[in-house]
Symmetry: D2
Subunit: 136 residues, 4 copies
């Protein structure tokens, strides 16, 4: 099992009139965590697309525990939970500098080939990720 | 049970490099559906805040079935699933003009008082919503 | 000269911690006005892209006069100021229901061919817009 | 004159169906550069708001020179051009790793007091910025 951490500083544009971060931004931060997870394994998602594969989001869920505020320094922890054939799943935890858990979530992804139908990623793209898959 | 429909035309800014709508926008459309649901019951969420109540998102989930594209005309169907004390839950369906289901989801909300602690909404704010609550 | 009006209701996600609409959203509303302007002349921007043309934003400016708030009903007025060869320019005014001017702006666009170099749009795409060009 | 640099990695959510970054995001990056500029002078914009001052955007302009793509590593250079009484102006340059200039821009800001009327910032908030003001 492998978890990566990506640090983020909350942008003013990410807040809303409640004075806290708007809840949709957590999906964007999860994606940021996911991109960074891949980069840390030496894989760029852009390479997937150049090889003719799209990875689309099939499912997303978020549990919001506590609010985040402008200029908060957060860390997004990303774990590859599962990678089986055409399906990948990641889990996430967003914490602030006091280590309060602000949100946790999960996304499920389906790999599509250039014909936009489900396809398995070739070994050259998945091998660097194999060893980092969660063991649960 | 009461379901409202809100029509939306996909904005260019809502698309991403995959050529389809970025998945985080569905949470924004759900919120748009929710705002419109309340307005159709004669309630404005701004009134909640003026009365000192905040309704925060505690949970969100989306299942993505098919992509949406720039300029697609979509409808967001919003249903009030539950309203018990300090908790509200809504469900959503996003369809395109061919009546293809593109996404469905659910959000759970908690009511906070001006002290930012869970609180029950006063009857004057919930009464207009009572009859529209889902029965299932 | 031709001006179109597009009505918009401010989304909660468009507000920020100042309690007003975040200033970047006006560029998105201008784009929404522009898309609608074209649709009202019987042209879809998607048709440009299908014919191998991209229209990219080369310049944007906004003057902010007064704030907009959640659930405000706004109108975006869009005018085609100029269409010369490879360059288009639009101007915008955003007003609220009291006819207060909230913002005004201008965007300049360059047409690119499929080789991503500046190109002139073919007559079949520009003819429907000719008569609506501003006269000033 | 003082210029700060803030590094940014382009998020997938910031791209659009043209395959490049959507133009509205540059205003968000300018704001990110501005926040970072202030932090580097030991000032937090949150402190302005806690002291009862809002700094609102009165004007924004962007010239787009070349596109940015997903995962590009960019730097946002922010310069305080002017700080006179109730008005601040900043200029920005966004470059990629090849030092190509992708965009440049300028924002003008007005300081409002707690009564939402123009006000001058107190010396304790502006003094740390004085020396960093642009000379040209």
């Amino acid at each position: 099992m492998r978890t990566t951490r990506r640090d983020i500083i909350v942008r003013y544009a990410e807040t809303d009139a409640q004075g806290i971060v708007h809840h949709a931004n957590y999906l964007i931060w999860f994606e940021e965590g996911r991109s960074d997870f891949l980069r840390q394994q030496g894989v760029n998602y852009s390479d997937f697309e150049k090889s003719g594969y799209f990875v689309v989001v099939a499912q997303a869920e978020v549990k919001y525990r506590a609010p985040a505020f402008y200029e908060d320094r957060l860390s997004v922890e990303t774990t590859l939970e599962k990678m089986r054939g055409k399906v990948l799943a990641f889990t996430y935890r967003v914490c602030n500098q006091n280590d309060d858990l602000l949100a946790e979530g999960r996304t499920v992804h389906v790999v599509l080939g250039s014909d936009r139908r489900p396809a398995s990623l070739p070994a050259e793209l998945t091998d660097p990720l194999r060893w980092s898959e969660s063991d649960e």
